[in-house]
Structures are given as C-alpha cells and as structure tokens.
C-alpha cells in the first residue's frame, strides 16, 4: 500500500530552501495589482479587489499536473482545478473531512458486498477549454495517473479490478471501470471491499482530464480540467496563476463555491520574508506548508491577531523504533524511550507549531483516544531518571543506537539522540538529504534502529495512519511500517475495520480507540505530536470567510478581498 501525500513538502523543500532568503515587498509580487496600486496599507486597492490575490508559497509544487502532483503544495492548487467524481466539503474542521459529490450527480450506490460502485456524471459539464465532459474521461484520468506513476497509484492498482493488469501493460484499459458516455453512467469494480474508496476517488489525481490528454507529465502546461479554477502561466519553480474558469459559474456544483478572485502563487523560500509581505499586506496569503518564523509569530500576535490563527493539520510526527532488532525489540526499552521523550522541547524546535501527543492518530481523526497517555503527560518534560532505570532493567543499557533523520529535522534528531545518550545508550546520528531519506530508512537492509518521521494523511481515515504499523506490508524493498512492527491485533483490526465504508466510521470509533491505546501501551513508536499550520492573511482578505480545509489547507475558492 502506498500513500504519498506529504504536507510541508518535505521531500522537495530541502534545507537549502529553508535557509535561503526570499524576496520581500512589492516587487516580489511583480506585475500584480497589489503592486501597481501602492501596496502599503491597501490604499487604492478597492479597484484592485478584482485583481489577483497573491499567495506566497515556500516551495514549488512537485508538479501541477494532477496525475503527477503528490505534495500538499500541489494538491492545494489542483484540488480546485481538477475535480473528480467526489471531493471534500469546503468547510472548516472535521466537517471538511466529509466526502461530497463533485462531478458525480450523487453519492454512489454500492453493491455486491461493497465491491461495485455505480454513479452517474452530472449533465452539461465542460472542461476549462470548453470541451464537453464525458464519462470516459474518468477512466482515462485513472489510467493516466497509473501510466504517469503517480506516487499514490497503488490506491488504484490495488483496489480497482484490472488496474494492476493495465499498469503492467497486460491490458489496454482498466477492465474494472465501465463508462457510458451516452448516459454518463460509471461503474467501478473493486477487487475487495475497501472502506476508504470514496476518499481515493476524491484525490485530485482522480480529477478528470479530457481523454486523449498526452500520457506524459505536463507540469508546465497543465491539461484542461473541470473546477472553479484553471492553472495558467506556470513558471516552473517560480510562480503560477489560478484563473477563474470562465465556464465554472454556469456549471454550479452544489457545495463548491464560485471564486471571486484569481490567485497568483509566487514561490519564495524564505518564510520570514513571506510573513513580512503578508503582515504588511503586500501579499494576501501565507503558505500553510511552513511555520511562521518566531519573530513573525510575535509580530502577528501583536499586530495582526484578527488575521492570524493556528490550524490543526492531520499530520503526526514521531520517531520510529526498529522493533525487530536490539535494543528496541525489547518492550521495556521502548517504554523507556517514550518515558524519557521531551515533547515540550520538540514543541519549541517546531517553533511552537506542534501539539504534543502520544497517540498515532491526530485529535481530529476518528479513533483518537481520550484516555491519558500511558508513559507520562505529553506536555511535561520526559522523566529521564525513571527511563534510565528502565533501560538498566531491560538489560539493553550501553547498546549503540543510530538515529536517522532528514536534514530539515536535524535539530529533532540531535535532541532525540541526546535523550538516548542520557538514558544509557550510545547514540550516533545519520542525517541525510530529504530526497533520499524515506526510501533509505524504509529499506530493512539499511537497518535503521530509530529515526524521525512525519506522516500526513492521504485522507482523513484512521486506516490511512495505520499503514504505518501494518505488518502485512513489510517487504525487503521497504514499506510504511518503518519500525517493522508485526502485531497480530493491529494487523487483524486493520483488516476488519478497513473494509467499512468511511460513512460508517463513527460506529467503530470505540474499536479504533482501543487499538490506539494498545499501540501506545506497546510503545511501538515514540510519538512527539501533531503539526499545526499558520493561517495568516493580509488585511484586505476576509479572514473569517476563508475556509481552512483540514485536508488541503486554505481553500482558495473562499478567498474574498474586502
């Protein structure tokens, strides 16, 4: 199983980006209305209100082609430009995790024991280039995502009948998808019931593109799509625009807002400079993928409290522990590590953008337990003395442990290694480029005993997070299960609970909570906490109206200029 929607763009946003300094002021938003009209305090901007709103982003999207892009920098741009059959409700908080029909006329009828999804395309839809949308375009989009090796393509190939054969070139189309262009009916046959399949259909990678769109990545000239926005004027690595799709207003899909302003996204890697721009209202929206630098937090709290808030995002940060090898095959040793973990220190290392916690599931995900943490309160410093004693008792004291991490989280690794040293291990560090980090530690051959990891949901469903502990996925080439955890209770619960449709999640919340408590008790991973993201806008943006989607961040369709 593969999941690959990362927040914070950790793969691409190398350290170098974080240290680099970006443009400030009017000039950065070159050629924009915000600039031309004396961008200081919004004077004379009334007439410019129709002009584009500027978003300053810390890192370029990995690709603006919907069937390639996998980072949140990409999906926040593509989810409003490439609607698929389903999407998420444009709402704040947990309401925003609800799947709603987009290009489908309604929710699907699910039959044959949860393996056959039947739905119908809305009537009269057209792409941004004016071409009519056909049911066959859906099948084409899925095929295209597979052909272009979208990082999450296994969600398709492992669930949809015939997708694997198509992927391997044994079939010229996906046998499990049947479409009828005349009636607009779409039928999808699954290999086995998969509860989160509607979430899979809501991926921007399943967003429709016209059949016949070239089967090659088009990051610089993204193909036509259906949605409130269309992407234009892409300057790779520098900027792109989201223009209001002229055909959108006439299509009016319920629940999806019609945007009032075009969006200009400019990529600059310095959060400090970005924050300055938004605080001074010369840019309109701060990129949610990076935390505000400390000085800017203070300034935002002081001068812009009405347009700054911290929003939870469903992303968990943790250190994995190799449960298959010494010393962390010893449960007591693992418990000692969790006991000693200094979560408030990590909170500071994350500039405050971290809510300490001990469970794998973030609070807004169904299944997050209310029971207290088993090894000390997450908001208190770790108990090093007690942990040291536990390590002694476990008989693992004095063993060598190599802690792995990617360069952006060097400070986290330094801190964790110090903690290990303090409780009686001999810790050393391996901090490597983010580009190679996850493939390296995921390969069991590497033998990483411990390492930093952060995981952002692919979709808001506990089963997505539990891939991190799914022992059935372990294989020599690597898996999500970085700590090589094989726990029969976890594996069987994933098997059972994973089949339930997302809509029935609340009915099994108790079982997920029990599983969570079991996981925490076993100390399979040293969870640090859950990330938070900044929501910061210029003074001319209607802050209250701007929706912060728990899945895709600030919802550009709800961005309104005063």
């Amino acid at each position: 199983m593969v999941a690959q929607c990362r927040r914070g763009d950790t793969n691409l946003n190398s350290r170098i980006n974080r240290l680099a300094i970006a443009a400030l002021g009017c000039a950065a938003a070159a050629g924009l209305a915000a600039c031309g009209g004396g961008g200081s305090t919004g004077t004379g901007n009334a007439s410019a209100a129709a002009g584009p709103a500027t978003v300053v982003a810390a890192s370029a999207p990995d690709s603006l082609d919907p069937q390639v892009g996998a980072t949140t920098s990409s999906t926040e741009a593509t989810w409003n430009a490439y609607l698929g059959l389903y999407t998420y409700k444009h709402a704040n908080g947990s309401a925003g995790t609800q799947v709603i029909p987009a290009l489908a006329a309604g929710m699907p009828s699910i039959s044959q024991g949860g393996t056959l999804y039947t739905t119908t395309l809305r009537k009269g839809l057209v792409f941004s280039n004016g071409a009519p949308v056909k049911a066959g375009d859906f099948a084409y989009a899925i095929e295209r995502a597979i052909k272009l090796n979208w990082e999450g393509k296994s969600f398709f190939t492992e669930n949809i009948a015939g997708a694997e054969a198509y992927d391997q070139g044994k079939a010229s189309s996906i046998s499990g998808i049947k479409t009828d262009d005349a009636t607009g009916q779409i039928q999808i046959k699954l290999l086995a019931p998969y509860g989160a399949f509607l979430n899979v259909l809501a991926f921007p990678a399943a967003g429709l593109v016209p059949a016949g769109t070239p089967m090659k990545a088009l990051p610089n000239d993204p193909p036509p799509g259906v949605g409130p926005y269309e992407i234009a004027h892409v300057k790779p690595g520098h900027s792109f625009e989201e223009q209001i799709d002229p055909h959108w207003a006439a299509q009016a899909v319920p629940g999806i807002p019609t945007p009032t302003v075009a969006i200009q996204v400019s990529v600059q890697s310095n959060p400090g400079a970005q924050a300055d721009e938004v605080l001074s209202s010369s840019a309109d929206l701060f990129d949610w993928n990076t935390p505000l630098p400390p000085a800017a937090v203070a300034q935002a709290q002081r001068e812009a409290s009405s347009r700054y808030s911290l929003e939870p995002v469903a992303q968990v940060s943790f250190f994995f522990l190799d449960t298959a090898a010494a010393p962390f095959d010893n449960a007591l040793a693992r418990e000692a590590v969790v006991t000693a973990l200094n979560r408030p220190a990590f909170q500071k290392l994350a500039s405050g953008y971290l809510q300490p916690g001990c469970y794998l599931l973030p609070p807004q995900i169904v299944g997050h337990p209310s029971a207290p943490c088993p090894y000390g309160s997450p908001t208190a410093d770790g108990d090093v003395a007690k942990a040291k004693e536990m390590v002694q008792r476990s008989g693992t004291a004095g063993q060598s442990v190599t802690v792995w991490g990617d360069t952006p989280h060097k400070a986290f690794v330094d801190n964790f290694a110090q903690t290990l040293d303090a409780i009686g291990y001999k810790a050393s560090e391996r901090v490597i480029s983010p580009a190679t980090y996850y493939p390296t530690v995921a390969t069991p051959k590497t033998g990483a005993q411990a390492g930093f990891a952060e995981y952002a949901e692919d979709f808001p469903n506990p089963v997505d997070f539990y891939q991190l502990l799914n022992g059935n996925t372990i294989n020599p080439e690597g898996s999500h299960d970085l700590g090589l955890v094989r726990d029969s209770m976890i594996d069987s619960e994933i098997e059972t609970l994973g089949k339930l449709p997302t809509s029935r999640l609340p009915s099994v919340a108790g079982r997920w909570e029990a599983l969570e408590e079991h996981t925490a008790k076993q100390a399979y991973m040293a969870v640090i906490g859950y990330q938070e993201a900044p929501k910061l806008t210029s003074a001319r943006v209607d802050f209250g109206a701007l929706v912060f989607s728990p899945v895709y961040g600030p919802d550009w369709t709800t961005l309104k200029l005063k």
């Binding site: 199983m1 593969v2 999941a3 690959q4 990362r6 793969n11 691409l12 190398s14 350290r15 170098i16 240290l19 680099a20 300094i21 970006a22 443009a23 400030l24 002021g25 009017c26 000039a27 950065a28 070159a30 050629g31 600039c35 370029a60 990995d62 690709s63 390639v68 996998a70 090796n149 990082e151 393509k153 296994s154 992927d167 990051p219 610089n220 300057k235 790779p236 690595g237 520098h238 600059q268 890697s269 310095n270 400090g272 400079a273 360069t407 480029s433 983010p434 580009a435 190679t436 996850y438 493939p439 390296t440 995921a442 390969t443 294989n475 020599p476 080439e477 690597g478 898996s479 999500h480």
Partner: protein
C-alpha cells in the same frame, strides 16, 4: 614543411580539448552518482514508500536496468536533444535552466563589471601608494587589509550579514529573491544590489592584490626604465606600458571567473540570496542527488570556462605579442 596558421592550430586544439574535458566531466559526474551505493535513482523516483513492483516499474521505465554505459549514452543523448528530465521534480532540465538563467546572468554581468572596476581601482591605487612615502605606504597596507578581509570572507557569511543588517534591520534592501528586469526594472535593481555587492567584495580584493603585484613587477622591468629614460612622461609610461601589461593576468582571470559564475558557480551566493538562479538549482539538485540537472550544469560551467578561457587567451595574444597561442 610550412606549419598551419597558428590561429587555426590553436582553435582546433582548443576545440578538441573542450570536447575531451566535457566528455571527462560528464563521465566523472555520472560515475560519482551512479556507482556510489545509495545513489539508486529508482528509489527516489518511486516515492516515499514504494512497493517493490513500483520500484521495478520505475527502473524499467527510466532504463536503470540497462548496462551503465547504455544509461550514460541515453543521458547524453537526452541532454544534447534538450529532452533531459530531472529525477525528483520530473521537469525538463534545459527548460528549468532557461527559467533560472536570467537571474544568474543578472548576477554575473552586474557583479563582474563591479568587481573588475573595484579590483582595478584598488589595485592601481595600492601599487601607486606602495612606491610613495610613509603615509602612503600605511594607506596601501590598510587597503591590503581590506582586500585580505574580502578575500578571506566566506560567501554565505557576507551574504547573511548584508541581509541581516541592510535587510532585516534597516529595511533598505529586500530580503533576497529575484525580480525579472522586464517586469519591474526598479525591483530588479533593488534585489540585485546586495548579491552584486557580496560577489564584488569577494572578488575585488583578490583582483586588487593580483593587479598590485603585477604592476609592481612590471615597474621593475627594464623596458619601463628604458621608456622613462627616453623621456616619456611618467603618466604615459604608467598607462601605456605598465598598466597595459599588468592588466593581462586580470583579463584572463576575469574571463574565467565570469564564465564560472555564469555557469552557476555562485552556489552559495545564489542560495543565500535565494536568486533562484542556475547556481541555486545546482545546489538544490546535489542535495536531492538529482543527476540530470547536475550533469547539465557541470557541463555548462565547464563549457563556458573553456570558451571564455579561449577568448581571453586570444585577447591576451592580441595585447601582448610575447604570448604564444598554444
């Protein structure tokens, strides 16, 4: 037997040398990344948590299962047809470099003019002072100390300090970034000034020391004494004899440094000021172990260096009959 025209021989030799250097550099770069374990690009291409099947697919799709020399030839073919795609972001590398070039050209052209002027001025003044009285010699020493500090300054430290004091504290200049000249000339200028200053400080000190030494050398040459004895005015001797000859090493230095910075050599400066130029692209690509951009940029730099060194050799030969074209 009559030798071929020296100019022709020179051109042919240089051309052959250039091809060889480019070949060697491309092979070397390719090997560094391909041979070293953990450099497997399939793992990176396949994504954060790929299944074995996905990795296999990528390996076949990108040809990583082929013999290494086939992979090399494939890469070179793609580079020379402009179709080379990067591994991590999967964008056309040539096109990306095209996007990044304006920033790098702005940096190179502006800074190289500044550092040449500053270096020559400082060098000439230093050399003139060195031959005068006590006070002048002290001034020369002071200039020497300034130049030495510039020479010894790490690029990123200078960049950081300029940004901190002139950007963050005094808000005189923007905090880095690049604005295209065509979109906003004023913005372009304000964004370029600090990077220019930074590179100029690094180079000017070096140039001034080379030039000063060169002038002092030349002043000791016999033909300068002869010229003086002939009654030519000291000013004319200085300009037409001393300076003309002393500038020779500077010309060739300038050509090479210009080429190096233009080819993305200013990795650190571009990174610190976030110019998003070729150098920063190179730095980011090395961190991602993304072979195609690294290959293209190293070859671009080497190409420019060879071309510019050929040009400067020609200029030298034109200025100084003693220089043989080899």
């Amino acid at each position: 037997m009559r030798a071929a025209h020296p100019m022709l021989t020179f051109a042919v030799r240089r051309l052959v040398a250039m091809v060889l250097v480019l070949f060697a550099i491309s092979v070397l770069t390719f090997l560094i990344f391909q041979v070293i374990p953990d450099g497997d690009p399939a793992l990176r291409l396949a994504g954060k948590f790929a299944t074995p099947q996905e990795i296999k697919d990528v390996r076949i799709q990108w040809g990583f299962n082929q013999p290494i020399w086939v992979q090399y030839l494939r890469m070179m073919e793609q580079i020379f047809t402009g179709k080379v795609i990067s591994y991590t972001q999967q964008v056309n590398v040539v096109r990306q470099i095209g996007e990044d070039l304006p920033a790098t050209i702005s940096l190179t052209v502006g800074a190289s003019v500044l550092w040449l002027i500053a270096g020559v001025a400082l060098g000439v003044v230093g050399a003139l002072l060195a031959r005068r009285g006590r006070v002048a010699r002290a001034a020369d020493r002071l200039l020497g100390a300034v130049a030495m500090t510039g020479i010894s300054m790490p690029a990123f430290l200078l960049g950081d300090l300029l940004l901190f004091y002139l950007g963050f504290k005094l808000h005189v200049f923007p905090l880095g970034g690049y604005v295209p000249l065509t979109e906003d000339p004023v913005g372009w200028l304000t964004h370029m000034i600090l990077p220019w200053i930074s590179v100029t400080v690094l180079f000017a000190g070096f140039y001034s020391r080379v030039l000063r030494a060169s002038i002092l050398d030349t002043m000791g040459e016999s033909y300068v004494a002869t010229a003086r004895a002939k009654g030519i005015s000291p000013r004319r001797v200085m300009v037409s004899h001393v300076l003309r000859n002393s500038l020779l090493p500077i010309v060739s230095l300038w050509g090479l440094d210009f080429a190096a910075v233009l080819g993305g050599g200013a990795l650190l400066t571009e990174t610190v000021f976030n110019l998003k130029g070729v150098g920063q692209y190179a730095a980011e690509s090395t961190q991602r172990l993304d072979i195609p951009p690294i290959m293209v940029i190293t070859m671009l730099t080497a190409f420019l260096v060879v071309v510019l060194s050929t040009v400067t050799d020609l200029v030298q030969a034109a200025l100084d009959p003693r220089v043989r074209l080899r």
